[in-house]
Structure formats: C-alpha cells, structure tokens
C-alpha cells in the first residue's frame, strides 16, 4: 500500500514537471493571443527597421508612452530592408526606413519624420580636413591606401565599410558611384554607432555614417571629425537648406492607412513638439 502511494507520488512529480513546462508553453500562447486580439485600452506598438531611425524612434516612443500610459512601444533595429519587410508582412505595426521608398515598395504608406545626411568621419587628430569625391572613391577602392597620399600622416588608412543590407551602404555607394564588389575594406561594421566607435578608437580610420549619429557623439565629446562632402560642410544649416549632397528622409512606413494608436503615434512623431527632440538627436526636422 505504502509503496503504491509512494509511487503514485512520483508519477505526480513527473506529471507536475510536464504540467510546468506545458504551462510555460500555454502561458506563452495566451500572451500571443492577447497580443493578436489587442485590447484597445491596452496595447503594444512594434517598430522595426533602420538602425539610424531607431534611437530617434525610441526617444519619441519614450515621450509617447509618458502621455499614453496604456501603450507600450517596442523599437527593434534590423536595417531599412527589414523595416519594409516587417511592415509588409504585418510583423511590425510601423517600419522604420532611412531612405526613399523604391518603386516596388510604393504600395506602402510613407511618413517622413525627419531628414538626415550621410557623411565621412575621421579621427579628430587626423590633419586631413576634406576629401574630393574622387579621393573618397579611390580610398574605398584601395587605390589610395596611406594618409600621406592625401597630405596626412604616414599611416595606412583603415577603411570602415558597412555590412550588406544597410541603406547607408546603398546610399553611399550610389552617391560615390562605387560597386559593392570593388570596395576594399579593413573593418566591416553593422550599426552607425559601431563605425563611430571604431573611428574614435583608431586615429587612421575613415568611415561613413549617419550625420545625426556622428554629430550626437561628437557633441558628447568623442574624438571624431565630420568631413564635408563635395566641399559642403555637414552643418544643420546646409542640411536644412538641402545644400548637403547626401540627404535622405527618415520614414515611418505602414502597410495600411494608419488607424488608432498607429495613427496617433505617427501624428505625434510628426508634431511640432517633437522638433526639439529631433534636433537633440542632431537630425533635421521637417520644414513646416
């Protein structure tokens, strides 16, 4: 008798174990269900895409959540192409895209929230103050491989390039008429910040990054220097007036006409109140 009781006790334990793991799965599923049938009073907005837009979107989301306590906004980075793909498949409510939509993508709704440029950055101690477009091209093709050839120190150039899938890479290669295959890089990076960090830690490196990100970090005291492109300095004024040659919109994109919280969020991001936040991140607000 005792044995029987004891052994059923054991089976119970095993059962409990199974139930525990099952309940984790079911718990997960029920959360999934909750999100799918989002309760209008409490809901979640998911933004994915461009690593350039993400810090700005996160900051806007922070303020948005303060005003609307019942909404949670999650911002995930993954590159502009992911922003498009996720918005298309409905994985994200809003995609973040740091370029114009391509013809094949024009069925999506596009809402620019700010503008940004791409510029070249070098270490602050680098004596080189400007490069012609041709020089930039030859640096990235590996034909100019020492700063001495550009009037700088006698040091090999560390060429920082972006990994495939980033719109910054596409815009850069388009503007400088470079093919991805001919770029000879010494370091490959993912996010803008990684490029900035690489340049800040290496006096002989050159990288191309989002102006917003670079100006923000340079403002935080990081030893980097933003170079002019085609002799136009990457200043807020030049960006705003459209004089700076590599400009791009920072877009929020949606599959459907925005409704509900999505609409509120996009309106909020484009509202005049956000101007100061956009400028704090060193991006250019939309003209009024």
């Amino acid at each position: 008798m005792i044995l029987v009781a004891a052994s059923s006790n054991l089976t119970n334990k095993i059962k409990q174990g199974l139930i525990l793991s099952l309940s984790i799965y079911l718990g997960g599923m029920s959360f999934a269900a909750r999100n799918a049938h989002a309760d209008p009073s409490e809901s979640q907005l998911v933004l994915t895409g461009s690593s350039t837009v993400a810090p700005l979107a996160a900051e806007i989301a922070h303020h948005f959540e303060k005003m609307h306590r019942q909404v949670r906004v999650d911002v995930q980075t993954g590159g502009s192409s992911r922003g498009i793909a996720d918005a298309r498949r409905g994985l994200a409510d809003i995609g973040m895209v740091s370029r114009h939509l391509k013809p094949a993508e024009e069925h999506l709704w596009e809402f620019p929230i700010a503008y940004d440029g791409i510029t070249l950055i070098v270490h602050k101690s680098n004596p080189v103050d400007g490069l012609s477009n041709n020089e930039v091209r030859e640096i990235y093709q590996g034909r100019i491989n020492n700063w001495k050839m550009l009037g700088g120190r006698d040091a090999p150039i560390t060429v920082v390039n972006k990994a495939a899938g980033h719109s910054t890479l596409e815009l850069f290669t388009d503007y400088f008429h470079l093919k991805q295959q001919e770029i000879r890089a010494s370091v490959i990076i993912g996010d803008n910040a990684q490029g900035i960090k690489t340049v800040a830690g290496n006096p002989d490196a050159i990288a191309y990054v989002s102006i917003g990100a670079a100006a923000y970090d340079s403002g935080q005291g990081l030893p980097i220097k933003l170079l002019p492109v085609d002799q136009v300095s990457p200043t807020l004024f030049n960006l705003q007036s459209g004089k700076f040659p590599i400009l791009r919109p920072l877009n929020l994109v949606t599959l459907e006409v925005p409704e509900g919280w999505v609409k509120k969020f996009i309106q909020f991001a484009r509202s005049p109140e956000m101007k100061s936040i956009i400028q704090e991140q060193y991006f250019v607000p939309r003209p009024d």
Binding site: S7, I14, A164, Q180, Q181, S186, V187, I188, G190, N202
Partner: protein, 284 residues
C-alpha cells in the same frame, strides 16, 4: 497491478523525454536545411565555394573566405594554446610546490568560467589597440587567434593536468629508479602516458574555438577575405551569421543558413576526425 502501471508510466515518460532530446539535433539539421533550400535550389551549390565574393544582396555568395577564416583562427589558436597548456600542466604537476599548483589550478578554473563575450570585450578594448600600434587596423586574425588561445588555454591545461595526475605513480617511480632525470621522466613517461587526456583536452579546445562567435565577431574586423598576413582582418562563418542575420531577408537570409549548414558540416567533420585520432591515440 497499479504498481506495474506506475512503472510503465514512468518508463513511458522517460522514454518520451529521451526521444525529444534525441530529436533536437535532427530538428536542427532539418531546419537549417529547410531554410537554406530555396537558395540551394536556385543556384548551383558549388557557387558557395567558387563565387569571387560575398555580396549576398547582389547575388554573390562566396563562402570560401569565411571557411578559410574559421579554420585559420582555430589552427592558430591551437598552435598558441596547446604547447602552453601542456607546459602549464607539467608545471603544476611536477615543478610547482603543492600550494602553488593548487592556486594555479584554481586560477585556471576561474578563467575557464569567464564567458566569451567578456574575453571579446577585453580583446576589443585592450588587445586590439595594442596590435594596432604594431600594424593597423588592430582588429585582425592575430587578435582573434590570441584571444581564442587565452580562452581555450585553461581547458587544455586542466585536462592535461588531470590526465597527468592519473598517470600511475609506479611509472614515475620506476623511471626514477632507473635513474631518469626529472625532464626525462616528464617528457619520456608522464606525457606519453597522459596522451589520451591531453588529446581530449585539445579536441575540446579546438571545438570551442571553431564554434566561437562573439570573440571573433568583436576582434577580427569581419572583412571577407583570405588574409595575407596575421595582421589582416578576417571573417569567420560564425561571425558572418551573427553580423548579418538581423539585417538579412530572402536569399540573403537563406545564404546565412547555408553558412550555418557549412559550419555544422565543418564541426561534424572535425568531430569525426578527432574521434578517430583519439581512438588511435588510445590504442597506442
């Protein structure tokens, strides 16, 4: 009756659990293959080895430089770590006073518990800038080899030490009685007798090196090329996946799963080879 039923239930539950655990590895193979399939059907699989470059968004899928990078890093780390590991084990076993040997072993086990991302942090912040002073850009094959060597050194040293500890005392005593010097006893008796354990440790270390992602991602520069010198940056199969996965779509994503598949083949081939080596060593 009910007793037998309980036992049957226990048996069935445990059997089910083990079937689940056994199936995971098959699932992994299956899903890697399934996700790679669209691309494998679309292009000739030989192109993964022959394509001149890795530009997955422009239809070039050459994985060979990454394959070479993975192998070079692993071989390099082994060349640095294996002799050092054996020397450290000999030191602990034969030359150090008991207390120091124990302390040293404690230090080694502490190190073997440090996660790879911390080694990567150290390599990125401390080691890469030092290498850069010698030869830019600093993040390079050499940085990867050195950090990985440091990472697997404790594994190799500890298993070599354990293997030497288990060499029967009589062997050494006998060798001493025959008038062998300490060096002769170590190199002629202890190390040959401990060979299976030493080889096992080396295999464990190499396995860890080839599968390591974070360290190589952080300190190797990730440029797709077959390096000309140890100061050139490289990208490994593991780093390739980690670097591009979150940005990859359609064919690009499938190409990364092909990288994963290739890595899996390399690792499995490696396990098979190392097991046959181990079997041979133990036979001797």
């Amino acid at each position: 009756m009910s007793l037998a039923r309980t036992e049957r239930m226990l048996y069935a539950g445990c059997r089910l659990a083990s079937i689940c655990s056994g199936l995971i590895v098959l699932f992994i193979g299956f899903f890697l293959f399934k996700e790679s399939l669209p691309l494998l059907l679309k292009i000739n699989p030989m192109r993964f080895l022959n394509d001149p470059g890795w530009h997955p968004t422009e239809g070039q899928f050459g994985l060979f430089p990454m394959f070479a990078g993975s192998l070079l890093i692993t071989v390099g780390a082994m060349i640095v770590a294996a002799p050092l590991g054996i020397i450290l084990a000999v030191f602990c076993r034969f030359f150090a006073p008991r207390k120091i040997a124990n302390a040293y072993q404690a230090l080694l086990s502490v190190l073997s518990g440090i996660p790879s991302v911390v080694f990567g942090l150290w390599g990125l912040v401390v080691l890469a800038p030092i290498i850069r002073h010698v030869q830019p850009p600093g993040v390079s094959l050499l940085a990867g080899v050195l950090v990985l060597a440091v990472m697997i050194l404790p594994t190799i040293a500890l298993s070599a030490n354990a293997a030497m500890t288990s060499v029967p005392f009589e062997y050494l005593q006998g060798a001493a009685a025959l008038g062998f010097s300490k060096w002769q006893r170590v190199w002629g008796v202890a190390i040959p007798a401990a060979r299976p354990g030493i080889v096992t440790g080396m295999i464990l270390g190499a396995g860890r090196a080839i599968g390591e992602t974070m360290v190589v991602l952080m300190v190797c520069g990730n440029v797709v090329q077959v390096p000309d010198s140890v100061f050139d940056p490289v990208r490994t199969l593991t780093a390739n996946i980690a670097l591009e996965m979150s940005y990859a779509l359609s064919d690009h994503r499938a190409a990364l799963f092909v990288s994963g598949l290739m890595l899996l083949f390399v690792v499995m081939g490696f396990v098979a080879i190392s097991e046959s080596i181990r079997a041979k060593v133990i036979e001797k």
